[in-house]
C-alpha cells in the first residue's frame, strides 16, 4: 500500500489534509445533475487538468475504488454516492470531481504540517482556475452544495492515531468538546463509529478567514495529541502489568489466530499500537499496525481475495484472521 502519509514510525498526527470546495454557475450540483451531464463534466475536468500532470486515480467505474477508500486515499462517501465522480491526483494533491461539490481541490502532507499542505493547495487552486470563474455569493463567499461548506469552502483535517484515547474510552467526551469549539471529531472512515483512527476537522467554514480556521485546528490537534499521551500514561498507571500482558498476548494471537472478529482485531491493534509506542515490542513498528489496520478492512479483503469472500460471519472471521497472520507475520520478519 503506497500511501503518502504512512511511514514506518508514525507519530500521533499521521497526516494534515486541506481541501477547498468550488462550484460553477449554470451546472446543477451532483444530486440534480443527470448522469450523462455528470460524465461529460468529469471528462471536461480530466482533459483540462491532464496537461498539468494530474492522473486519474479512480472513477465511478473503477473496481478498486473501495480499496482506495479503505486505505483513506479517497473519501468513503465518494464511493458510496452512486452517481458519476472522478478522483484526480498529482503526487499528494489532487481534485475530487462531483464529490457533492463540482470540484474539491485537496492537498495532503504527512505528519503535522498544515502550512505545507496549504502551500500545495494554493497550487491546485491555481491549476483549477481555468475551469472557473467559480460561483461567489456577495454576502457569504464561495457558494457550495451544502450550507455546511459555504464561505471559505475550506475543510481541513488532521488524521490522528489515538489508540490510548480509544482504549480509555475518552474519545466521545473529546468529540463533544470539539463540537462546542466549532470542530468535529469523526472516524477516519465516514459514517463509522469512533475508533483508534480519527480525523479532527473544522466544522465551521463561514465568518473566518482560511488561516484563522487552520490556526484553530492546529491548536485542537496539539491538544488532542497531549490528551493521547496523557491517556497512555493513565492506562499504564492503572493497568501496568495487565496492560503489558494484553499487549504481548495480542502480538502472539495475531500470529496464530484462525478466527478474528472485526471488533477483536480493532482492540488488539489498538493494544499493539500502544505497546509499540511504549517500547514494549522492540521488533515491531507503528507503521506495521497501520498497514494491518488498512489491509484487513472488508473492501480491501474483497479486492485482494476476489471470489473468496464468503457469506457468513464465521468465514469472514476466518479470512480476516488469515490476512492478519500474513501481514503481522511479514511485519515481524
Amino acid at each position: 500500500m503506497n500511501l503518502p502519509w504512512l511511514s514506518d514510525d508514525p507519530g500521533i498526527v499521521l497526516a494534515s489534509r486541506v481541501r477547498l470546495a468550488r462550484n460553477l454557475d449554470g451546472l446543477p450540483f451532483r444530486g440534480a445533475l443527470p448522469p450523462s451531464a455528470a460524465r461529460d463534466f468529469c471528462e471536461r475536468v480530466r482533459s483540462s487538468l491532464d496537461p498539468f500532470g494530474y492522473g486519474t486515480l479512480a472513477s465511478d467505474a473503477s473496481s478498486d475504488a473501495v480499496e482506495l477508500a479503505d486505505s483513506l486515499t479517497i473519501p468513503t462517501d465518494l464511493v458510496e454516492n452512486g452517481s458519476p465522480w472522478l478522483a484526480l491526483r498529482k503526487g499528494a494533491r489532487g481534485v475530487l470531481v462531483l464529490h457533492d461539490d463540482h470540484l474539491r481541490a485537496w492537498a495532503l502532507r504527512p505528519g503535522f504540517d498544515f502550512p505545507g499542505a496549504l502551500d500545495d493547495l494554493v497550487e491546485v487552486e491555481s491549476d483549477i482556475a481555468l475551469l472557473g470563474p467559480f460561483s461567489r455569493d456577495p454576502d457569504w463567499g464561495w457558494r457550495t452544495a451544502s450550507p455546511e461548506d459555504v464561505g471559505t469552502g475550506l475543510r481541513a483535517g488532521a488524521l490522528l492515531h489515538v489508540p490510548a484515547l480509544w482504549l480509555a474510552r475518552r474519545l466521545s467526551s473529546l468529540s463533544d468538546g470539539l463540537d462546542v469549539l466549532g470542530g468535529r471529531l469523526r472516524c477516519a472512515w465516514h459514517g463509522e463509529a469512533l475508533g483508534p483512527l480519527v480525523v479532527a476537522s473544522n466544522r465551521i467554514t463561514l465568518g473566518r478567514s482560511e488561516l484563522d480556521l487552520l490556526h484553530d485546528l492546529e491548536r485542537w490537534t496539539r491538544r488532542i495529541s497531549e490528551e493521547e499521551e496523557r491517556a497512555a500514561r493513565d492506562l499504564v498507571e492503572h493497568w501496568g502489568g495487565e496492560l503489558r500482558d494484553a499487549v504481548q498476548r495480542s502480538d502472539a494471537v495475531l500470529g496464530a489466530a484462525r478466527l478474528m472478529s472485526e471488533s477483536e482485531l480493532q482492540q488488539r491493534m489498538a493494544l499493539l499500537a500502544l505497546g509499540i509506542r511504549l517500547g514494549w515490542l522492540p521488533n515491531r513498528r507503528g507503521g506495521d499496525v497501520l498497514r494491518l489496520l488498512l489491509g484487513t478492512r472488508q473492501g480491501t479483503l474483497r479486492a485482494r481475495r476476489a471470489g473468496e469472500i464468503p457469506e457468513g460471519h464465521a468465514q469472514l472471521d476466518d479470512l480476516r484472521a488469515s490476512e492478519a497472520r500474513v501481514l503481522w507475520g511479514l511485519a515481524g520478519e
Binding site: 477547498l20 462550484n23 460553477l24 454557475d25 449554470g26 451546472l27 446543477p28 450540483f29 451532483r30 444530486g31 440534480a32 457533492d100 502550512p115 496549504l118 502551500d119 493547495l121 494554493v122 487552486e125 491555481s126 460561483s135 455569493d137 454576502d139 457569504w140 463567499g141 457558494r143 452544495a145 451544502s146 450550507p147 455546511e148 459555504v150 464561505g151 471559505t152 475550506l154 466549532g182 465551521i204 467554514t205 463561514l206 465568518g207 473566518r208 478567514s209 482560511e210 488561516l211 484563522d212
Partner: protein, 91 residues
C-alpha cells in the same frame, strides 16, 4: 418557491441537505440565512484576502522571523539568503 436554475423546491433541499445549484443561494436566501445561523453559528461573512495572498503573507512573516533570528545569532550567510528570499516573495 421553485429555483429557476434547477427546478428544486426548498423542501427538496431540506430533505437532502443539499442545494440543487448555485442559484438556490438566491432563491432560498431567507431560509438559508436561518440554516447558516444554525450550522455555522453566523450568517455574516468575513472579508478576507484571497487564499493565495493569505498564504504569501504568512510565508513572509515566517521568513522575516527567521531573518531576525539569523541576525541575532550573527549568521550573516543565512540572513543574506533569507533577505533574498523575502525580496523574491514580494515580487
Amino acid at each position: 418557491m421553485i429555483c429557476p436554475g434547477c427546478g428544486r423546491t426548498w423542501d427538496d433541499a431540506r430533505r437532502t441537505t443539499f442545494l440543487g445549484c448555485t442559484r438556490c443561494w438566491d432563491t432560498f436566501r431567507s431560509e438559508l440565512r436561518n440554516i447558516l445561523l444554525d450550522v455555522q453559528g453566523t450568517a455574516e461573512s468575513h472579508v478576507a484576502p484571497p487564499l493565495r495572498d493569505q498564504v504569501a503573507a504568512r510565508r513572509r512573516i515566517e521568513l522575516e522571523r527567521k531573518l531576525q533570528e539569523a541576525v541575532a545569532r550573527e549568521d550573516y550567510v543565512a540572513a543574506s539568503a533569507l533577505r533574498d528570499q523575502i525580496a523574491q516573495e514580494v515580487l
